[in-house]
Amino acid sequence: MGLISNGTTLLDAGAIDSGVPTGAMTLIKTLTASSSGTLSFVDGAASVVLDGTYKEYIFKFYNMHPGTGAAKFRMIASADTGSNYGVATTTTMFEAMQDEGGSNETVRYEDGDDAAQSTSAINISTGVGADADECVSGDLHLFDPASTAFVKHFISTTQFVNNSGTPYCKITRVGGYVNTTSAVDAIQFSFSSGNIDSGVIKMYGIK
């Protein structure tokens, strides 16, 4: 049975009609940190979809607060549904910054925080402050993780307060690729030291 309103088919055969414009960005999963060592999104686990269903996945970070000052927010990929994390990855990283005193304004490449075929966790920020009101927010786009032909591109932007006597406003841009033709089916987030004291990560699929 179809549902037709004013001559326009809205519903048919149990689905919204293809002529009706619907949202292209689907919330897949929300994870909330509570003194968590890691937050992991694993295809097929806990209702997470991270496969060929979507050609792009977006992770949104909300107020990720480290348990330890100066810890760097990081990501790492898996090609075996989280049994092992650490696929060779190459990235670029640059930052723009200014401190709260109005000094040290600059934009620069962060040579020590990028990755060259690294199998360790990849920095997507530099050191985040752990004062009660300090945190990092931002996003990461992962393209076509299920491809078995190409490397897996990602681009990330994070905005945070850093860990300094005079705090800095910093924005960090990271781009790179997980250098494998195997499907990437799990992504894990953590800080470089200590726990994720609090924060929310939302995962979306883009049609």
Binding site: L3, S5, N6, G7, T8, L10, I16, V20, P21, T22, G23, A24, M25, K55, E56, T90, T91, T92, M93, F94, V107, R108, Y109, D111, D114, A115, A116, Q117, H141, F143, D144, S147, A149, F150, V151, H153, F154, I155, R173, V174, G175, G176, Y177, N179, T181, I206, K207
Partner: protein, 206 residues
């Protein structure tokens, strides 16, 4: 006829009354040894007019047939012939880091911007055609149907350079015309787009 459930109007006057999302997939084009991929308003179900205030293009694993080429685009303000030759002024900067860790740099790319030029704007410099090499990213085009202002765009593209390096490329600028932009065309600077997908989305105003 309206459909009302528990005092909530579900559908009325031929449309859903519920919020079905603000980001709408309009068109997907898939390259297969294609010389270009063009999104033309009114053709092949493409909408690129005043329906949405913002349009977003997503590039998924764009793979060139020829090594070390530029991925680039241009716009048209024609309604039928669609010549791609709009005057543009742009900025272009990028970060690069190679797999051997010997090159790590951030800089403005003066050779890849445009100053009141009608040629294609480069979005990515030097994509490789290795079997696993490609680029992905996005481009936003704002208010293409506006007939008062220039048409702004901004793009971020990440990819695998021919020199086995990651490149994070940022391009922004404007079509310097008050005419409506009616089409965008994407291509490689040389050779075909061997494979890849470009998706066009509209972002609702409300």
């Amino acid at each position: 006829m309206a459909i009302i459930s528990n005092a909530v109007t579900i559908a009325d006057a031929g449309a859903f009354s519920l919020n079905l999302g603000s980001m709408v997939l309009i068109k997907t084009l898939t390259a297969s040894s294609s010389a270009n991929l063009a999104f033309v308003n009114g053709a092949s179900s493409v909408v690129l007019d005043g329906t949405y205030p913002t349009y977003m293009f997503k590039f998924i694993n764009i793979h060139p047939a020829t090594d070390d080429v530029f991925f680039q685009f241009n716009g048209s303000d024609d309604t039928s012939s669609h010549a791609y030759n709009i005057t543009k002024t742009t900025t272009n900067f990028s970060a690069e880091h190679n797999e051997g860790d010997s090159t790590a740099q951030l800089g403005y790319v003066a050779g890849d911007d445009l100053a009141q030029a009608t040629g294609y704007q480069r979005l990515f410099n030097g994509v490789g055609n290795d079997n696993d090499g490609s680029l992905s990213g996005e481009l936003f085009l704002f208010s293409p149907a506006n007939t008062t202002f220039v048409k702004h765009f901004m793009a971020r593209v990440g990819g695998h350079r021919h020199s086995s390096a990651a490149l994070d490329s940022y391009v922004a600028g404007y079509f310097n015309t008050a005419a409506a932009i009616t089409a965008l065309n994407f291509q490689m600077s040389s050779g075909n787009i061997d494979a890849g997908i470009i998706k066009l989305y509209g972002i609702k105003a409300s």
